[in-house]
């Protein structure tokens, strides 16, 4: 059965919530779909009901936004995956038991991003996790993934996570920042104007680090993880300007959990499925849909906002969401898209911050050179770098060709973990650009779905 709605918003993080709210306030009929139990996305991630303590300020803000959206008439469809997108703006929804279809006159994609995977010797050992996974466990389940944490990555979110871990009673042996932040941050001071909120959050995290005497090592990165059945120690090294480990600087550091926070990769699969033209923008996290000033992609009536269209943080996601919500509402006959001029200065400010953030914290190529021939690049199918190299010797020169020959990228994660790793390796070996080497084509369902749920329609 196919239900009709004027505007469908996919993803209930800051971008999706603001888009849905703006569209509903303009008078449009809106459905907001999210695959989590509690709407809110990454930034407003809500604690599971069973663990509710005092909510953080982020969580309070998210909850308030959600209440506003509900009050404005937004229909919230939680715990539901959008697993496919078809002709005439039909979205396929699945809640684990049945498939339903939602046909919209405009679609706003706000699907966020996922942690950037990094392959190095030992990265598949139990105990190596992404920072996002560590954080989600704390926020949603109040679970500490280990006892002695090493944080390796880049950007201020590492500080936030380290502070959260310390407050929760974990030992943080070090925070490694790959970028040489301090000298460069000064060049960008202008963009920090009006960013007091962020500065104060950074400052408080920073003070927590200092209080717990957690070493913050700028210009350092992970090189390898070691251990018999589980992480026991890490090899770390000082990095050069391209993030390549400097020979001779290696150190060993004991830990049982390594949290990798090397930024995010935009989750652009739905915009690709809907035929939106994509661009390769490393500073925005990878492949993202091209958009106009209204956040509309090259596919008419399909909008994309927030991290899924380029990593930019919660505040940018909110502004983009307001613009797209208002533009989409106008497109289907409600209101006049007045959010666009009204939000212009906020948008410009957040874009400035985004550019600064990208200039400081986009990993250098060295990050993709840590893997060795026996390092696994595709975890699901257990494909090593040597196997990818062999496929190149046979003539493959794109990520898709390597997938067809090696199975790398054919596994359960649909390439979300490995496509970037394999693409960077091919680019480096063949001397082509990552844009030429390409990502994997989307192959619905974009998440595995039960056969019985697909055969059954409600």
């Amino acid at each position: 059965m196919t239900e009709q709605v004027e505007i469908a918003v996919v993803g209930a993080g800051p971008g999706g919530l603001c888009a849905a709210l703006a569209a509903a306030q303009a008078g449009a009929q809106v459905a907001l779909i999210d695959n989590n139990r509690h709407p809110g996305g990454q930034y407003y991630r809500q604690t599971a009901r069973e663990f509710r303590g005092a909510p953080s300020s982020h969580q309070r803000e998210g909850a308030a936004l959600l209440q506003q959206a509900i009050a404005a008439g937004v229909r919230i469809i939680a715990e539901t995956n959008v697993w496919g997108a078809f002709d005439d703006k039909v979205l396929a929804l699945n809640d684990g038991a049945a498939t339903t279809y939602l046909q919209a006159r405009a679609i706003i994609l706000a699907t966020g991003a996922y942690d950037r995977p990094v392959a190095f010797p030992g990265w598949t050992l139990p105990g190596v996790m992404t920072a996002g996974a560590v954080q989600t466990l704390i926020k949603e389940q109040r679970i500490l993934a280990g006892k002695r944490f090493l944080l390796a990555g880049t950007g201020p979110l590492q500080l936030v996570l380290a502070a959260e871990l310390a407050r929760a009673g974990a030992q943080v042996v070090a925070v490694l920042e790959g970028s040489r932040v301090f000298p460069r941050v000064l060049q960008h001071a202008g963009a920090l104007w009006n960013q007091w909120e962020r500065l104060s959050e950074g400052l408080s995290s920073w003070l927590t680090l200092a209080r717990h005497r957690i070493p913050y090592r700028v210009g350092w990165g992970i090189v390898a993880a070691e251990g018999a059945a589980q992480v026991e120690q890490a090899t770390i090294a000082r990095l050069d300007g391209n993030w390549r480990p400097i020979r001779g600087s290696e150190e060993k550091i004991a830990c049982d959990t390594i949290a990798l926070g090397y930024g995010f990769v935009p989750f652009n699969t739905l915009s690709r499925l809907l035929g939106a033209r994509q661009e390769w923008r490393p500073e925005l996290g990878g492949e993202v849909p091209a958009r106009d000033a209204q956040m509309q992609t090259s596919a008419p009536g399909v909008y994309a906002v927030g991290d899924c269209a380029g990593i930019g943080g919660a505040a940018l996601a909110r502004v983009e969401g307001q613009i797209a919500g208002s533009a989409a509402a106008a497109q289907v006959g409600h209101g006049t898209a007045d959010a666009i001029p009204a939000r212009a200065s906020a948008l410009a400010r957040e874009r400035r911050f985004q550019r600064m953030y990208a200039a400081l914290f986009t990993p250098g190529v060295g990050l993709y050179e840590l893997s060795q021939d026996d390092t696994i690049l595709c975890r699901c199918e257990e494909i090593t770098q040597a196997e990818v190299r062999h496929a190149l010797a046979l003539g493959a020169d794109t990520t898709n060709e390597v997938k067809l020959i090696t199975r790398g990228g054919m596994g359960d994660c649909q390439g979300r973990m490995c496509a970037h790793l394999i693409a960077h390796f091919i680019a480096r070996e063949t001397g082509r650009s990552v844009a030429q080497v390409g990502m994997l084509p989307p192959r619905p369902p974009i998440f595995p779905i039960p056969i019985t749920a697909l055969g059954v329609t409600r």
Binding site: E381, I405, P445, P448, I451, T452, L454, G455
Partner: protein, 374 residues
């Protein structure tokens, strides 16, 4: 950058699907200097996207001898191509869910035995005993033990690599844009790649461009009645080993095989829509899910992981076109395999090589001649 390059060869093949790659391979093996033009990548279309069924039974009688001869080639292919193409002679089960279907399988079986293909008819009990994983909707089946499955993409690529090792020139990302004719004979194929045009001069041109073969041919006045059609496959996540046969049911409208790594590939047998569109529609995925769950009840606990579509090359009578074109000397058609061409690829390639080298094929091409559409 050089806009117009020229190379010469003894034969030029258009299309890097299994038919084109097998043609290049067998030609090279016979010592023919061959060049192959592929607009994108080797095996990127139907040949690398198909169901992997290598079956002889349940075919049009005109096509049957080709399938039988092809399976003889398949049996030695892995060793010959020097690559693990995952070929398994696991058998093919064609199930019946009603008496009328069982009756038509019985008639077909009698004809197949007459033509020298060993098949067995199974009643309900035999089917339960031999294939306990199948759903109880089936009342019987026909079985061919020498049928099997292989990995489509690796087989097609392995033909390409083997041809290359024998000296064939394989030009990928090179689209054939025209066929040159001088007098009454083909003389060249012009291709276009990122650097410009490339002219391959050759006295033989093999059109193995699958669903695109008609467009190329029209310009030289040879109208090939081949139409595109979309066919979709959905696959599950890895499952424990369940079955090794290629199985299909026209009553449920689905077929399946389990790949070596455990994923079950499920395809549809319904009449496909004529289109070049390769997006898999939701209703087709639902049909495959329902059919899979009925055909193999154990899949009720499984998830679909991925799907894709490929483009078939359909002729009006669903039998291929293989052989010379009377009016244009040196022009060979190897197209229109109508959804059965993966199994037939090796024999098609071998016959093409015989047409070029011997002037006479080892199997009669009368039933698959182009002029039947006259």
């Amino acid at each position: 950058m050089n806009d117009r390059r020229r190379i010469s060869a003894e034969a030029v093949v258009i299309g890097g699907g299994i038919v084109g790659c097998a043609s290049a391979y067998y030609l090279a093996r016979r010592g023919v200097q061959v060049a192959l033009l592929e607009k994108a990548t080797i095996g990127g279309e139907a040949s690398g996207r198909n169901g992997g069924g290598v079956r002889q039974q349940c075919r049009d009688r005109r096509e049957r001898p080709f399938a039988i001869a092809s399976v003889k080639l398949w049996e030695g292919l892995q060793a010959e191509l020097g690559f693990d193409i995952e070929y398994v002679q696991g058998g093919n089960i064609r199930m019946a869910a009603n008496d009328a279907r069982m009756e038509s399988l019985r008639r077909e079986g009698a004809e197949e035995l007459e033509d020298g293909l060993q098949v067995e008819l199974w009643d309900r009990d035999e089917l339960r005993r031999r294939a306990p994983y199948l759903g109880d909707v089936f009342i019987g089946a026909k079985y061919c033990a020498t049928d099997g499955t292989a990995n489509p993409i690796l087989t097609t690529k392995a033909f390409g690599w083997a041809a290359q090792r024998l000296g064939a020139t394989i030009l990928t990302r090179t689209e054939a844009v025209s066929i040159g004719v001088e007098g009454a004979r083909v003389a060249s194929v012009t291709g276009r790649d990122q650097d410009g045009e490339i002219v391959v001069e050759a006295p033989w041109v093999i059109n193995a461009a699958g669903p695109w073969s008609a467009a190329l041919s029209r310009a030289i006045g040879v109208e090939i009645p081949v139409e595109p059609a979309r066919s979709v496959i959905a696959i599950t996540q890895r499952c424990a080993p369940l079955f090794r046969e290629f199985i299909s049911s026209h009553d449920l409208g689905v077929y399946a095989r389990q790949a070596r790594e455990g994923q079950v590939h499920v395809g549809g047998t319904n009449v496909p829509p004529h289109t070049f569109d390769q997006r898999a529609p939701a209703d087709v995925l639902e049909h495959l899910a329902r059919g899979a769950a009925q055909m193999i009840p154990a899949l009720r606990g499984a998830n679909f992981l991925r799907s894709w579509a490929g483009t078939l090359e359909m002729t009006p009578d669903k039998v291929p076109i293989l052989g010379y074109v009377d009016r244009v000397k040196g022009y060979i058609l190897a197209t229109g395999f109508s959804g059965h061409g993966f199994c037939l690829g090796p024999i098609a390639g071998k016959l093409v090589s015989e047409l070029v080298v011997d002037g006479a094929p080892s199997l009669s091409l009368h039933e698959v001649r182009f002029s039947r559409f006259g």
